[in-house]
Symmetry: C2
Subunit: 308 residues, 2 copies
């Protein structure tokens, strides 16, 4: 079995009828399973999460992009979240039986098709980036929808990788490949927002901290709890339990304990495995020893077998 996850972000988080139509466009592809739909009205943005075979996931992503282009007019779209198009970003994530190279190839195929058939400018980003600066999504989004047309005209560096060099009402789309992203919050049992901010600055990669970690300090709805809110961009590089341990050390150095931590969205089995290996020193424990991983492998083999 080959499975990729696809997590397209659409610039619509308010009109439920539009959100539903985009979701249904993905579901029309056999062999695609929608795992999650998360909409935010303030951001005016919807994050759709689905899995499927590489070909099925690419087809579903194409149909969603086509639908979003028909239903979202960027000339009128307003929201808190930065974006360049109706379908703002489409990342492919290796999940089962595929590697990053497969997902980069998939991003290229989909990019070419979206550029050609939908006439939408496409930027390859993250692991699929052809220019080093496009590995980082904020660079690709610079100027946003409103400024991008002028930037394409004046800066050769901003030419899309596929599609026309002009923006229609659907704007542009970033398509790429990346590891599974874990959204993770660590709550500190104190009211000191500055401490959360300081710790965030220390642990994040951009501050010279842990690789593949983004972090910021935030208040929470509880007055006596502050939060370090993180994106773990590659838990094979910096495991979740390492991030937790580092934040605990920094907090304790200031006499503060960790209240609890929380995962937003989905967490891969490998994160649980790495944490367990560390906690009980089970250094030989592998994915193949986990009952559910065996079941998944067995079920998927059976699905691929010709009917008896």
């Amino acid at each position: 079995m080959q499975l990729v996850e696809c997590v397209p972000n659409f610039s619509e988080g308010r009109r439920q009828i539009v959100i539903d139509a985009i979701r249904r466009a993905a579901e029309t592809v056999p062999d695609v399973t929608v795992l999650d739909v998360h909409s935010d009205g303030v951001h005016n943005r919807t994050v759709l999460t689905f899995v499927g075979s590489p070909a099925a996931a690419a087809e579903a992503a194409f149909r969603c992009t086509e639908r979003a282009a028909a239903l979202i007019d960027m000339r009128e779209q307003r929201g808190e979240h930065p974006r360049i198009g109706a379908t703002d970003v489409i990342p492919f994530v290796p999940v089962w039986g595929v590697d990053m190279n497969d997902c980069v190839a998939l991003a290229n195929q989909l990019g070419e098709r979206v550029g050609l058939e939908l006439q939408i400018p496409v930027y390859l980003y993250a692991e699929a980036a052809r220019r080093p600066e496009r590995r980082w999504l904020p660079t690709v989004r610079k100027g946003q929808y409103e400024g991008l047309q002028e930037l394409i005209r004046t800066e050769p560096d901003r030419a899309p990788d596929f599609g026309p060099a002009r923006l229609g009402p659907a704007g542009a789309t970033a398509i790429g490949a990346r590891p599974f992203l874990v959204a993770y919050n660590v709550n500190l049992a104190c009211a000191d927002l500055q401490l959360a901010r300081d710790i965030a600055r220390t642990v994040r990669e951009s501050g010279g901290g842990l690789p593949a970690v983004q972090a910021r300090g935030m208040a929470t709805s509880e007055p006596d709890v502050v939060q370090v809110s993180l994106n773990l961009l590659d838990t094979s590089v910096t495991p979740l339990h390492v991030v937790f341990g580092e934040i605990r050390s920094l907090a304790r150095a200031n006499g503060v304990e960790i209240q609890d931590s929380e995962v937003v969205g989905l967490l891969p089995l490998d994160v649980l495995l790495a944490t367990t290996v560390q906690h009980v020193k089970a250094f030989e424990l592998r994915r193949e020893h986990i009952l559910e991983a065996r079941l998944l492998a067995a079920l998927s083999e059976r699905r691929e077998a010709p009917p008896a």
Copy 2:
């Protein structure tokens, strides 16, 4: 989807042709997946692990038992491991979408069929036991194959739950239901076998220690490492990380550190989850947040859907 695990133990660990034949008997049932076959020549015993729907697992267990009865003659069988029959024990384990009651019902159905169709005496044990003393397998095995016929004759308490009150060359079989069993070893960085034995005695349930834990102290192949070898009979009652923590405390009280730990066989996702919840204080983390658990649910739903 409904999945049970079945882990029958056969009194043959030497003749590969017999082991293969028993395995193949299970594999002839569509919808059954053999996960593991483990044979031990000294014990003269084979442990077969397979999963399937409840009906498929029961059918596979029946076919294995029939095959073993034809190929293993208990009048000639010798080995280190205690046993009462060619198919010594058949436990059903709830894995997915079934509970313990379903597995108890399955043990009853299979027990009745084995007793009637194969004319083998059957004892219901563990969660399926109808007499309290039969919850514990060693009670059921008391006297072993060689002594059981006489015990059935003289002690009314030893009457089988199904089948004839006399033993043929296939002996008797214990059939039951139990939680997933985790075989777990904790290695201590010291040469003090007595310490391993003392810790084992302290942590095991029979010594007034942790519930649902069996333990014994053992030497290892490394002279400077001793082992506490455990069976965790129900990790929802005593989680693996609690066992580890308890042994670590007891070892440290004697100035000894844990070298490492190891899982023998398969480990359920829930054990990883409980360990991670504890380690990073992610108190809200549930099975539904784990990507692979979602995939398994989605794949199994799709298998059950009528073809489009």
